[in-house]
C-alpha cells in the first residue's frame, strides 16, 4: 500500500493559517447549494482520487476523499458489493469526501443504516495541519474515541477528510419493489411502520403521488415469500429509487425551495400542506416552498423532530434547526480543538461553528 503524499494540501492549509484565510473545502462541487453561504478560498480534493485498499472478502474498502461515488460504486459492483447506505448521488462528480461531510444517506437509511454506521475509520487533516488516523479497517474496533464517526455530517467544519474506510455489503441477489395505491400520506406512513415491525427483508419505503413503494432485497426465495404476504403489484425495477437517489425525480425539479423534515417514522404529518415526497419509511418528509414554515416549526416543537432548509433558503440565515445552548457550547469547543483558527468551512453549518 503506497502512502499518499498530502504535502501540497498541507502547504495550502499552512499558508491559509498564516493569513487567517478561510477555506471552502470542495469535493466534486456538486452541492454548493447546501448549508449556509460559502466563504473563503476553494480548497479542492479532486486530485486525491483512488482506492487505497480493497479486499472484497474483508467487506472493507479504503478510498481517497476525492474519489467519485460513481467510480467507487463501479469497483464495488464488479465484486457484487455496494455501499450499504446508498449515498445520494446527484451528479457524476459527487465525491466520497463530500458525501461524508454532508452525512447523506439514501432511501435505505432506516433499514440498513446511515453513513456513519458504515464508516470504520478516517484519515483527517485538522485545521492546524495535523494528519491523523482514527478508527481503522476492521469492523469491530473500540480503541480510542470515535472521531471517525464524529466527523460524518460535520460539513467540513472539523477537518479535511483525506481517506475513509467503509464497511461494504454484498449486493442482494434479488430486489423487487411492491407498488400499492394509498391516496392518503398518513395511511402510507402507518402501513410502512406496521411492515417495518415484521421480519421482512424491507430495504426502503417511500410514498409519492398516492403511490407507496416498498422495496424488498435479499435472496430470491426470501423476497418472493415476503412479496406474497405484503401484496401490491410487483415492480422488478422501480425507477423511483434511482430518481430519489440522483434527485432526478420530478419533485426536485419543481420549485426552488426545498425543506427536509426529520421526524419519528410513525409521526403523523404536521402541516396542512402535506409533504410531497415521503422517504425513509416515514422518517424523512420532503416539502416544497408552498409549505407554511412557521406552522411546520410549531408542529415540530410539539411532536419532536427538526428541519433542514435543503435548498433555496436565505443562506445568510441559519438553515438547520437551532441547537440547545449547552450542546452548541460543546460543539464550539470541538470546533476550537479541530480547527483553532476557524478557517475550515467557517459558518457553513451554523454561524457559530
Amino acid at each position: 500500500m503506497q502512502e499518499t503524499d498530502y504535502s501540497a494540501l498541507k502547504a495550502e492549509l499552512y499558508s491559509a493559517r498564516q493569513t487567517k484565510q478561510p477555506l471552502a473545502i470542495e469535493g466534486g462541487g456538486t452541492r454548493k447549494f447546501y448549508g449556509r453561504e460559502i466563504v473563503g478560498k476553494s480548497l479542492s480534493l479532486s486530485d486525491y482520487q483512488g482506492i487505497v485498499e480493497y479486499n472484497p472478502t474483508e467487506l472493507v474498502v479504503t478510498v481517497k476523499a476525492g474519489t467519485t461515488i460513481d467510480s467507487l460504486s463501479e469497483t464495488l459492483h464488479s465484486n457484487q458489493q455496494m455501499l450499504g447506505f446508498e449515498p445520494p448521488n446527484c451528479l457524476p462528480e459527487s465525491t466520497v469526501g463530500g458525501t461524508l461531510a454532508l452525512g447523506l444517506s439514501g432511501s435505505t437509511r432506516p433499514y440498513r443504516g446511515n453513513v456513519q454506521d458504515f464508516v470504520l475509520g478516517v484519515r483527517l487533516l485538522t485545521g492546524d495541519g495535523r494528519n491523523m488516523r482514527f478508527g481503522g479497517q476492521v469492523i469491530k474496533n473500540v480503541a480510542g474515541f470515535d472521531v471517525s464517526r464524529l466527523v460524518v455530517g460535520s460539513l467540513g467544519c472539523l477537518g479535511i477528510v483525506l481517506e475513509v474506510s467503509f464497511k461494504v455489503i454484498p449486493k442482494p441477489e434479488c430486489e423487487w419493489t411492491l407498488n400499492k395505491e394509498i391516496p392518503d400520506v398518513d395511511q402510507a406512513i402507518l402501513e410502512f411502520n406496521a411492515l417495518s415491525g415484521k421480519p421482512y427483508p424491507i430495504t426502503a419505503a417511500a410514498w409519492c403521488n398516492k403511490l407507496a413503494h416498498i422495496r424488498l432485497s435479499g435472496s430470491e426465495a426470501g423476497v418472493k415469500s415476503a412479496a406474497q404476504i405484503i401484496g401490491g403489484s410487483i415492480n422488478e425495477n422501480d425507477p423511483i429509487w434511482e430518481q430519489i437517489n440522483t434527485h432526478s425525480h420530478p419533485f426536485f425539479k419543481q420549485g426552488q425551495k426545498i425543506i427536509k423534515v426529520f421526524q419519528k417514522p410513525s409521526a403523523s404529518v404536521i402541516a396542512s400542506h402535506k409533504p410531497v415526497l415521503v422517504d425513509w419509511g416515514g422518517a424523512l418528509r420532503w416539502y416544497r416552498e408552498e409549505v407554511d414554515e412557521t406552522e411546520l416549526q410549531l408542529g415540530l416543537k410539539e411532536q419532536g423532530g427538526w428541519l433542514e432548509r435543503f435548498c433555496g433558503a436565505d443562506r445568510t440565515q441559519e438553515v438547520f434547526s437551532p441547537l440547545h445552548p449547552a450542546t452548541m457550547r460543546i460543539k464550539q469547543r470541538l470546533k476550537d480543538v479541530f480547527d483553532p483558527d476557524r478557517i475550515l468551512n467557517p459558518g457553513r453549518m451554523y454561524s457559530e461553528l
Binding site: 479486499n55 472478502t57 474483508e58 437509511r109 456513519q116 454506521d117 485538522t126 495535523r130 491523523m132 488516523r133 482514527f134 481503522g136 476492521v138 469492523i139 469491530k140 474496533n141 473500540v142 480503541a143 480510542g144 474515541f145 470515535d146 472521531v147 464517526r149 464524529l150 466527523v151 455530517g153 460535520s154 467544519c157 455489503i169 454484498p170 441477489e173 411502520n193 415491525g197 415484521k198 421480519p199 421482512y200 427483508p201 435479499g218 435472496s219 426465495a221 426470501g222 415469500s225 426529520f262 419519528k264 417514522p265 410513525s266 409521526a267 422518517a283 419532536g304 423532530g305 427538526w306 438547520f320 440547545h324 449547552a326 450542546t327 460543539k331 469547543r333 470541538l334 480543538v337 461553528l353
Partner: protein, 484 residues
Amino acid sequence: MKTEELAKLFSQVLPDQCLVSNEAALRTFECDGLSAFRELPGLVVLPDNIGHVMAALKVCRENAIPVVGRGAGTGLSGGALPHPEGIVLSLSRMNKLLEVDTENRIARVEPGMTNLKISKEVEHLGLYYAPDPSSQIACSIGGNIAENSGGVHCLKYGLTVHNVIAVKVATIEGDLIDMGHQSLDSPGFNLLSLMVGSEGMMGIVVEATVKLLPIPECARVVMAIFDSVQKAGDSVASVIASGIIPAGIEMMDNPAIRAAEAFVNAGYPVDAKAILLCELDGTDEEVDHQIQQVTQLFQDSGANEVRVAKDEYERQLFWSGRKASFPAVGRLSPDYYCIDGTIPRKAIGKVLTAIEGLSEEYGLKVANVFHAGDGNLHPLILYDARNPGEMEKTIELGSKILHLCIEVGGTITGEHGVGVEKIGDMCTQFTDDERELFHAVRRCLDPDSLLNPGKAIPTLARCAEHNAMHVHHGEVPFPHIERF
C-alpha cells in the same frame, strides 16, 4: 478525599440510602470483571433518579472529586476500577423500562437496565435488542454504551453504536443534554457516536433510546469441522465472498473444543483442529436456501464434515459449547486471561499460528474462541496466579498478541474497551498527536478531567515510559507507524 469527608459532603444533597461508605460494602465495588486490578473507592453513590445524578455531579464539580461511572461491573478492561480519592457512581438502581414505542420500534430505558431484560420485555411484541455481549444476562445498557459493546451478532446487526439512537447525558458541568434523536438523524456534529464507547469519560448516560428489531422468523446453525485452522479461516472468507452475511460465525480451536466438550458434551469432535459455528437467520425460505449454500462452501473449503442442526434442541446444543467455552477453559486452569484484539479476516491463519508460537515461547497454554466473522479474537491465556511471576508473564504475552493485531492492520480492542488494561497498548496504536487530540476532545465535555480519570487514553508521559520499556535493538515497536 477520605471516605468520611466524602460521606459528609454527599449526605447534604442525597438521602442516606443512596450512599455506601462502610468498608465491607465498598469492597463490592473494588473491581469490575477484570479482577486483577482492585482499588477501594472513597464512596459509592447509588442514585435513584436523574436528580440524584445531577446533584452528585454538582458536588464532584465543586469539590474536584473524581467520578467513576459504573453499570453492572461486568466490564473486562477495568473501565470501572474505582479512584481511591473519588466516588463510584453506580447506576444499577436506575433500571426501569420507561417506554416501548412499538410503531417506531424503539425502547426508552434507564441506564442500569440489563441488556437481556430489554429483549425479554419486548419479546411478546415480536421484537428484540440486537447486541448480545456474552455477559448480557448481567451487563447494563449504560455500560454497553460506555464500552460500545459487541457480541456474537455484530457482523450482521452491528455494535452498540449502531443500535442506540439517542441518549440523555448528565454532564459534569451540570447540563442535561440529548444526543441523537428519535427521528433517526440529528443536526450538528454527531455527539452520539462520540459518546458511545467513551468509557465514562464524557458524561453520565441517564437514559437511552435503543432500536428494536423484529425477531427473525427462523434461525438455524451449521457446524463445520476442519483439520486445519487455516482452512477454517479461509472458509469464512469464502462465505463472505459469496454474498452471505451470517447472523454469527464463530470459531474455536482444538484446546477450546476439548475444554467445551468436556464441560457440556455438545457433540464437538475433540480431534478437530477447528470448528466453525455459522448461524443464519431470516425468513424460512431464505434460511433454507442459505443453509444449502454455506454447506456447499464449507465442503469446497475442505471441511471434513458439515453438520446442520436438525431442530431447535440441536441448535441450542451446538451453541452451548461455544457459550460455555470461557467457564470450560476456566476448568483447565486456576486462572485465565481473556484477550480482545481484532484483525482482518485474511490474517486469521497467520495470527493463530503466531499465537501458537508465542504460547510455546512463554510456556503458557492458549485456547482460542472468537468471532470469526468480524475477526475479533479472544485468545484465553491459561495461567496460575499462585506461581510467582506467571501473572506478569501472562500480561506480557497478552500485550504481544495485541501488538501482533496492530501489525496485521487490526486493533487492540474489538469490544472490551481499553480501560486500565490496555492503556499502555494505546501508545502503540495511536500517535502522540492522536492521543493528545483525544484528551482535548474529552475536555470539551469534561474540562477538568474529573470523569473516570486515568482510563482509556494514556498521557504523553505514560507513553514515553511505556515505549521506553519496549525498545528492542534501539527501535520502538513498528517503526513504520507514523509517530510524530
